[in-house]
């Protein structure tokens, strides 16, 4: 695959002319990101639009760490966002801790939950995908369960209106989005990312070189779920009140994120950004103007992407013009 020559060369050059190369890539991702979050609201005053876009950019970046670099696809990825949202809200409501701390707790609890999956990172990807889907469903039933309503709010939803600070939250999500892009850049340019990609192609050869593949995958998985957990906490506080079905939304926070990533190009640092910004606008257009056709449009989009464009936009650009990205 592509890693074999291209990335090895890149890795060499990273060691020698490291900063110029990484700095160029950083400019390519950070300038558009900052433009979206700082200048965007001046032209289109719907703050929630940009907030949700930020949530999806972070989720796509986080999924890229797992799916793009290690090749494992957690199909119910949204469960970590939902779990972070719930744990952050519950820690505010039940033990009355500061908001900033509760968001960190949301992230850490997602990491704890993700460690249950870590043994599966030794096995074939189908187990991982199915287990995350099943965990998604069971966690939804647990959180919306009537008999736990005094803790989770059950089917009546959970309220954190006391912590409602939309403007601070907006800039926090922008900061996390920038941070997630920086993490992707780091992974892309580091030994760590190279090892992840290589073990996706041939695990045994990489292990022969002395790399502990299971441990590396677990690190990637922890980084990814922490980002999503934190995002979940921020999302919950921005909403102020939500029903279980509002965060446990398989379409919005799992499937959509997978489509964004594949459309942009997995395993690239610019792909998730392109995919999530372009398709998020399409998604908003379709669901607002043609809600009856949203399933059909996205169904056809998924099938078309997998059959005809498995490497995404960035993959196509790379093939035609060398050295664009």
């Amino acid at each position: 695959m592509e890693y074999s020559e291209g990335n090895c060369v890149k890795y060499e050059s990273f060691l020698n002319v490291s900063l110029s190369r990484a700095g160029k890539d950083a400019l390519k991702t950070l300038v558009p990101l900052l433009a979206i979050f700082l200048i965007g609201p001046l032209f289109y005053t719907n703050q929630f639009f940009f907030f949700l876009m930020g949530v999806l950019i972070i989720s796509t970046n986080a999924l890229n760490i797992v799916y793009g670099y290690t090749g494992y696809l957690p199909f119910g990825f949204g469960l970590f966002l939902a779990f972070g949202a719930y744990l952050a809200s519950m820690s505010i409501n039940l033990i009355h801790i500061p908001v900033a701390l509760s968001i960190i707790i949301g992230g850490l609890s997602s990491v704890l939950l993700s460690l249950v999956f870590s043994p599966l990172l030794r096995l074939s990807g189908a187990y991982f995908a199915i287990a995350s889907l099943a965990t998604f469903e069971s966690l939804y039933y647990i959180m919306s369960n009537l008999s736990l309503a005094s803790y989770t709010g059950g089917p009546y939803g959970i309220s954190v209106h006391a912590a409602f600070t939309p403007n601070i939250d907006y800039y926090a999500i922008a900061a996390v989005a920038v941070m997630s892009s920086l993490i992707i850049l780091y992974i892309h340019h580091s030994n760590f990312g190279l090892a992840l990609k290589a073990m996706n192609d041939d695990r045994h050869s990489v292990e022969m070189c002395g790399v502990n593949s299971h441990r590396f995958r677990t690190y990637a998985w922890i980084i990814s779920t922490f980002l999503v957990g934190v995002t979940g906490g921020l999302y919950a506080i921005y909403l102020g009140f939500f029903y279980p079905s509002g965060v446990f939304d398989l379409t919005e926070f799992s499937v959509l994120v997978i489509i964004f990533l594949i459309f942009g190009g997995r395993g690239t640092y610019l792909g998730p950004l392109i995919g999530s910004v372009v398709l998020f606008i399409v998604y908003q257009e379709v669901t607002l103007n043609y809600p009856n056709y949203s399933l059909l449009v996205f169904g056809i989009l998924i099938v078309g992407l997998i059959l005809f464009m498995p490497n995404g936009v960035v993959g196509i650009l790379k093939k035609n013009t060398k050295e664009v990205f």
């Binding site: 599966l120 096995l123 990807g125 189908a126 187990y127 009537l146 169904g299 997998i306 059959l307």
Partner: protein, 293 residues
């Protein structure tokens, strides 16, 4: 105590039914290494088909199998040639098919919404014209016996196909070692097409009974049916068709007993069992060697 016996009767009757739900999925996975996430929506379409036949022509659900099985076996052929050859060539067929068939599921679901709306439908228990039977002090509707009979017949059919026919021998060869099978002259394509048709037909046919045996049918039951089928085949063992029966039994018993003793968590218990099994014994309860990457 009689509740206990009652749950036992229902779990036994549903064991074969749940096995057949997962069987098709497992057959496809075993032969093609493809994960069919559209499973649940095809199940839903089979169910809707039987409901339409009953509502318009008053056709007995058992009789509607005669229409459902050939129809869906035929639908499977273009589905196979549209997706599987291309997917099998991709770098990671398991994950690519996972995403692809989710897209197919979306398309099927949107067709179901445009045809049937978002209402819930069910065929009444009286549709067979045979009264309920009293077992251990409780009335068991005849539909449960019909579903069990259909399921046992399907299991026997798949057993005979796999172990008593020549094509079945080829199928098992492809499951065991694809390359060795190709080099011995087995036509992987014809084996795969037949397995795909059997699988889709079985799924749709088991959907015929779902509105009476499980819960009412609507356009959104696909997801939960898919996850249920996956739980069943993983508990049994991925890629081993007849081990599905073990998964079906574990699922049926945990579902029935938790609906009596832990009614609030009836939807959670089977999935928790799945997660425990997948973490501790990823190759199924009685699985042997691990499938590595």
């Amino acid at each position: 105590m009689s509740l206990f016996v009652d749950a036992l009767v229902f779990s036994l009757l549903l064991t074969a039914y749940f096995s057949v739900m997962g069987l098709g999925l497992n057959l496809i996975f075993g032969v093609m290494k493809v994960v069919n996430l559209a499973q649940g929506t095809l199940f839903m379409m089979g169910s809707f088909f039987a409901i339409v036949l009953y509502e318009t022509y008053r056709i007995n659900p058992a009789l509607s199998l005669v229409f459902v099985i050939p129809l869906f076996a035929l639908i499977a052929v273009p589905m196979y040639f549209a997706f599987i050859p291309k997917i099998s060539k991709s770098r990671d067929p398991e994950i690519a098919s996972f995403v692809l068939f989710f897209g197919v599921a979306y398309i099927i679901q949107s067709i179901a919404i445009s045809l049937f709306g978002s209402n819930y439908y069910a065929i009444p228990d009286a549709s067979f014209g045979i009264p309920s039977t009293k077992v251990a002090g409780y009335y068991v509707p005849f539909t449960y016996f019909a579903a069990a009979a259909f399921s046992i017949a399907s299991l026997i059919f798949v057993y005979l196909y796999l172990y008593r026919s020549r094509t079945g021998l080829y199928t098992r060869a492809v499951m065991d070692n694809r390359l060795a099978a190709i080099s011995s002259g087995v036509s992987v394509r014809s084996v795969s097409v037949i397995a795909f048709c059997i699988s889709i037909a079985l799924v749709a046919a088991s959907g015929v009974f779902s509105s009476q045996v499980l819960y009412s049918t609507s356009q959104d039951i696909g997801d939960i049916i898919t996850v249920t089928s996956f739980s069943i085949i993983i508990i049994g063992g991925l890629g081993k068709p007849l081990a599905t029966i073990i998964g079906g039994a574990v699922y049926a018993f945990s579902y029935e007993y938790s609906s009596i003793y832990l009614p609030n968590f009836v939807n959670v218990i089977p999935f928790l069992i799945l997660i425990v099994v997948i973490v501790l014994r990823p190759n199924g309860v009685f699985g042997g060697k691990l499938r590595e990457v």
